[in-house]
Symmetry: C2
Amino acid sequence: MDTTPPHEGLPDNAKLVFKGVIFEVWQWEQEMYDGSTKTFEKTWRPPTIEVIASIGDRILIGHQEQPTHGTFISLFGGRPENDDIEAEARRELLEETGYVSDDWQLLLKKAKRGHTIHQTYVFIARDCRKEREQSLDAGEKISVEAVSFKAFLDLSEDPKAWICNDLIEYLREVRKDENKKREFRRLLFP
Amino acid sequence: MDTTPPHEGLPDNAKLVFKGVIFEVWQWEQEMYDGSTKTFEKTWRPPTIEVIASIGDRILIGHQEQPTHGTFISLFGGRPENDDIEAEARRELLEETGYVSDDWQLLLKKAKRGHTIHQTYVFIARDCRKEREQSLDAGEKISVEAVSFKAFLDLSEDPKAWICNDLIEYLREVRKDENKKREFRRLLFP
């Protein structure tokens, strides 16, 4: 029996019953209202990191192609390989774009705790500069484009954009409120 | 090796590698752009059914309590036990509320195809009538309330309401548009 301690959001008696290449499946015996017990189950997947990288008055987006996904627009990031989330965000940005920044800020951290436990981290990387060429995985094709603030906000309504739901909601809120627009613009281009 | 055929949204060579009490884990070998292969993975979970049940000019909602979930507001439904989704919706409504309807319509059918494959069905059950008492599972406590059309729409902004995201989006659209409000009202109360 595996003895890995349960992730946050799982009860103490939860046991890891399957570990795949991405997902973990956890189960536990849950007491019901009549005193009987039932096997409850949740899955866990590694956090998702997304980076909003600014350069001058523009924002970097990726035109991506991945096997089984076809073409889509995305930000940069992925699944962290260790617990230092900001360092992993830097690594992903560098690998996928060749850009670095000295000015990072966590914009959003959200935890989903429904049937699947999953955290999302959205970072801002300000004032990026090109450090080297991209170094992509065999499963990635990414071409980088710098778009205007308006075009970036409009991604929240673009079905070709694969951005995490938490950030889409954030961008929609910003898009319809001039004050929030000013604030967000200052966050990206201080 | 399990030979269950893959669900819609999975490639033909996907294999079921784990079957839990809710989730299934599927894997396949995916060819990368450089000709190498990598194990890809998705989970599948059974569809979710939600029923919007109208009675007179009001709509039924549930004040629920479930082990590990605490108290929350919900509609009626759950996971179907067979492929006749509308019959399962009728069964869930009857069990959870004691109400029946002769006038059903599918309002939304959405398929999520990201890391987890999951379908959502939202039904309208018009002009409900009480048939018998609730017959709840040992893991359910549900008290039924009939609320106004406005109070129902407001659930889309209520953090205590556990409603599927597709329906929340639908209700938000309706809430801010008088024409859509009229149409939706006609759907519920013909």
